[in-house]
């Protein structure tokens, strides 16, 4: 497959790894912000190719892992409403909410359909005009424009029964919050390549400028990741942190203008609740006034209010997903890991999501 296979060459990977080892003198700590990178790093065994001087930490870039438990409860509450069809990405199905999960709700009779795209959700809305079709919008800037496009399309084609429950989040504010927290000292960040296809590189310039942390925007194939680590090591060893695009075939400094325009057209920036971190100001996307009739928060406000009152959100006891998501703990440091919390019976989202650090450690762990 073109643009995939060439970046999986094992000979090149070994050589790149050797080069990194040759350059890496100081002990440094890198964070792969994005869950997709966590997944790829574990799947290809990249940690084992890197020298011991490099410590890797997983970050909060897993939209499933950082969806607040109260937000998930909202989606589950709506699913029980008789006239509602919930459409969702598969990633969210097994995440435990305070009392239930979407998977469990479906078993109890809730009408929940897994979709691959908002386009499919729109089709479901057109096919069932008597139902309210609510799309659970999780994701970062990669997904936000696709959801914006579906909202614009629904409006244009007068699909009056399509709603979005937006849990969309933005990456620069949470990076700022994490670096500001200063819980762990980071030398470099592997930047989320597909988010940056949309945002471009400019929004991240504060990272080297204000915090002196190196930042390299990376693709997702093994050679992409190794190249990015190599560039990070170089920046750190020479004391010259900056924003660098390693994923040049996908990311332009100015990003995707059309996508950014669509996001501006449909959303406004608001605070968002990040599981494990709390409310981060200006880090979420809320549907703006022009499209508020498609906002499930408005259309179903009564239902959501009574659900919140009847069943307030509560975190599962002993779960350290919050710490894991901030890089403050590794999955192995959570007492529940592998015992009370496994992929079959997960306690928190980090074990459910295939991008979650706990799931990656459990499934792909080192022998």
């Amino acid at each position: 497959m073109k643009f995939i296979d060439e970046y999986q060459n094992s000979e090149l990977a070994k050589k790149l790894a050797q080069r990194i080892t040759g350059h890496s003198v100081r002990s440094i700590r890198l964070m792969e912000f994005c869950g997709g990178h966590t997944h790829a790093i574990m799947r290809y065994g990249i940690r084992q190719l890197l020298p011991e001087t490099i410590e890797m930490k997983s970050g909060p870039g897993c939209p499933v892992c950082v969806t607040a438990i109260g937000d998930l409860d909202k989606a589950i509450a709506l699913s029980h409403s008789p006239g509602v069809i919930i459409t969702t990405f598969g990633d969210m199905m097994r995440v435990p909410g305070s009392y239930s999960s979407l998977q469990q709700a479906r078993a109890e009779g809730a009408n929940i359909r897994i979709v691959y795209s908002t386009m499919d959700a729109l089709e479901i809305a057109k096919a069932s005009p008597e139902k309210s079709v609510i799309f659970i919008g999780i994701g970062f800037e990669t997904t936000a424009p696709t959801i914006a496009a579906s909202i614009v399309k629904a409006e244009k084609e007068r699909i009056g029964n399509f709603y979005v429950l937006s849990f969309l989040k933005l990456t620069p504010p949470v990076m700022k919050a994490l670096l500001g927290l200063g819980e762990i000292k980071l030398d470099g960040i592997i930047g989320p390549g597909h988010v940056c296809v949309i945002t471009g590189s400019h929004p991240y310039e504060f990272i080297p400028e204000k915090y002196g942390v190196a930042y390299v925007i990376s693709g997702f194939e093994p050679l992409d990741i190794l190249l990015s680590v190599d560039k990070l090591v170089q920046q750190i060893e020479t004391g010259s942190p900056k924003v660098e695009i390693a994923y040049r075939r996908g990311v332009k400094p100015e990003g995707n203008r059309k996508a950014l325009e669509l996001m501006q057209q449909v959303f406004e920036i608001d605070g968002a609740d990040w599981r494990g971190i709390g409310i981060v100001p200006q880090s979420g996307l809320k549907i703006n006034k022009q499209y508020q009739h498609l906002d499930a928060n408005n259309a179903f406000s009564g239902l959501l209010r009574s659900a919140r009152n009847d069943k307030p959100a509560k975190e599962p006891k002993g779960c350290r997903c919050g710490d894991v998501v901030r890089g403050a703990a590794t999955p192995l440091e959570c007492k529940l890991f592998g015992k009370a919390c496994t992929p079959e019976k997960p306690v928190g989202p980090c074990m459910v999501s295939s991008e979650g650090a706990c799931s990656a450690y459990y499934q792909y762990g080192l022998p």
Binding site: M1, P63, R249
Partner: protein, 75 residues
């Protein structure tokens, strides 16, 4: 995050396109990439093309790998 896969654009009709990867075909939205042409590769995320793959840059990256490797061999 954000699984995005490079697929080849076969044909375009309005704001949708027929794409292909490894013999698998999928109809996608190109609402976010109005500049796309048939024959381009796009990054596909949840049914939408989010960007056109820059083939020139792709070649440059592969050349860069080769250079890095040759340099390290010289050491």
């Amino acid at each position: 995050m954000c699984l995005a896969v490079p697929v080849k654009v076969v044909s375009i009709e309005g704001d949708e396109a027929e794409t292909e990867i490894g013999g698998v075909r999928r109809r996608v939205s190109v609402a976010l990439t109005p500049e796309v042409k048939a024959g381009d590769y796009v990054l596909l995320h949840t049914g939408y093309a989010i960007g056109v793959v820059d083939e020139v840059e792709a070649k440059e990256t592969l050349k860069l790998f080769e250079e890095i490797i040759n340099l390290s061999e010289v050491h």
